[in-house]
Amino acid sequence: MREKFSGIWRIVAVVCLLIPAAVLAEEGVTDSEIHIGQWGPQTGPAAAWGSVARGTDAYFKMINAQGGIHGRKLIHHMFDDGYNPAKTKAGVKELQEGTGMFAWVSGVGTSPGMAVKEYLMERKIPWVGPSAGSLQWITPPQKYLFAVYPLYAMEARTLVRHAVKQMGLQRVAVAYQNDEYGKNGLRGAQEELQKHGLALVAEVPVEVKDTDMKPHVMKLRKSNADMVLLWTSVSHAVRIVGVSKAMKFAPQFMSTSTCSDFPLMMHISKGLWEGVICATFGELPDSQKALLQTYRKDAYEAFAAKDERWGLFFYAGIIFAEPLVEAIKRCGPELTREKLVQELEGLQDFRGIGPTVSYKPFDINDPMSRQGTQETMLVQCLADGKAKNLTGWIVMSE
């Protein structure tokens, strides 16, 4: 009996000793675990982007297999929100208030992200690499929100500059999705042309629910453009290229990073995507870069599901998470959110398998203090769905 009691007292004593440690520890961090949350549509209209979250998952499993970070394993909590903001908010709250996340990574889509931005920022929870190139992440910049995705306006400028200066194309037209995404592309193109003393020969808006692209292509053809910049959804871009071919209108097509997964584009367009030039934010799938090869072997081949495809949308999940992982590593064993923010701000020209990432100390008046990427790479689609690297990584300057 006495022994039993002394056993209980020992437990009580240990618990009492542990309480201060537990109180001091950061939410979502224990001695052996770091909890990181992520949403990604596995169902619904944006399910094609679901591979981003699965990419991050394989990446974290790879890190854990190598022993984790400072002895802690990364526990990845990913959930399917079906691209429904009400569900995103429910899932984020459930994980944050139930399990307690240390930080959030990636998260596909502007409107799911916008539904939880305020919630995360009010609670000072770091969120790295939202998977959507929206200006809303950095206007105004938020102390705990670190954007990785390149800005669309800058991508458009780089493409137009390449067309005008390297290819000598002067008659530029834009087909853009009539929303923030498309208008950013349009604005970039207009600004760059202005610098060269040129103007767009046609601006053709495309609505999300438009299905017939003939009127749009008619306008583009009438403008006699020799370069058409496509800032639309994947399916619209493919349709415009298809209809143009049928109408014997053959300008140089260029497009955004959203349409730069060439094997996928070639598959959907049945080969018509050949020759299109795109900006991209990741190394090419067949690149011989050592780090990419490591990821392919240790993350993709070891942990991805058997019918997962090794493509940009898969390892985009790695690109968006790399800065977070790097900053956690730099924090050392004493991991807190404030320290993480400091280390993220300290990232200068950090390169993983995407463009270089740099942040600055937080400045509410400087959106670029939270915009990590200012590089892009221009690639051209070849007949077999492979990509020809046209420029290597180049800085998208203003």
């Binding site: 169902t43 399910a47 679901g50 399917d80 903001p85 009400a86 208030e97 999300v208």
Partner: protein, 349 residues
Amino acid sequence: MDLKQHYYEDVSLFSSATIVFWFTALALFLALFPLVVKNYYIYLANYIAINIIIVLGLNLLVGFTGQISLGHAGFVAIGAYGTIILMTKVHLPFLPALLAAALIAALFGFLLGLPALRLEGPYLSIATLGFGLTITQIIGRMDLFGGREGLHAPALTIGAWHLDTDVDFYYLLIPLTGLLTLAARNLTRTQVGRAFIAIRDADIAAETMGVNLLYYKTLAFSVSAFYAGIGGGMYAFVLRFVEPEIFTLMMSIMFLAMVVVGGLGSIMGAIAGATLLSWLDLQLRNILDIPYLGDWLTALSQSYFSITGVSNIQFIVFGMIMILIMLFEPLGIYGIWLRTKIYWRTWPF
């Protein structure tokens, strides 16, 4: 079931002391609920309450009047956008803005009710479907509504009360839901409610008895849209951000499913349907965390499904629950409740 011997028994709010007791218990539970649970469950409760409001309105239209609407997400959108715009652009306080937005939705409901005078069944569903899709198209193309970038909800205050948290919002939303439930229940017991039911059962017979079809059909659409407008206004503040892509056809279909699964033509059914389906919608993804069953489903998905199979299992289960309820009880959850009640009445014989 209950023999009523006096008119006042028919119009009384509570038919027996037992019911008064249970309602008091429910009210107490709802009042104390936020004090004992995590914030997430309050968000869940808010989400469910909003769906209850919308489904109550839709049930008045579908269950009581026998009309159909596949465009209710459109009315919800009008309520959500209307409330935000009236607050930010016209600088109305929250409650008048909410009410005005709901009235605008009701006006659109009236307009949509006009073609319903000539259309029935599948034709009416296509007309309402078109309405729902058109509304989001219009909103998406106008700068006033923020286009596809959407709008942010302003800070919410009522007098000196700042509603910053889900708990604050809960204490606004739950009484409002109660009030609207009461209104719906009372409406069904008036001349209007009886006219609705007469139209549902046989509109020609109703007309020969002197029920004005033009008036009552458009009224049913207006009232239903009003409820959806209130629900939409509240939805905007639960999400704090709205954009056109939120108000999809899928949303309209979900509302209709809630009405049917809950039980057509029953106030309690609407509440039960909205609660069950909203809860399943948000919680079924946790099915994979259940020991054994989750592992088994994951293994099943890995062997026979594509990569996203696992996540789609929640939809399969969701669909199966709906089919089973409809198969075994066409009156929905309300029917199951009725049968349970009758069974226990004569228990143990």
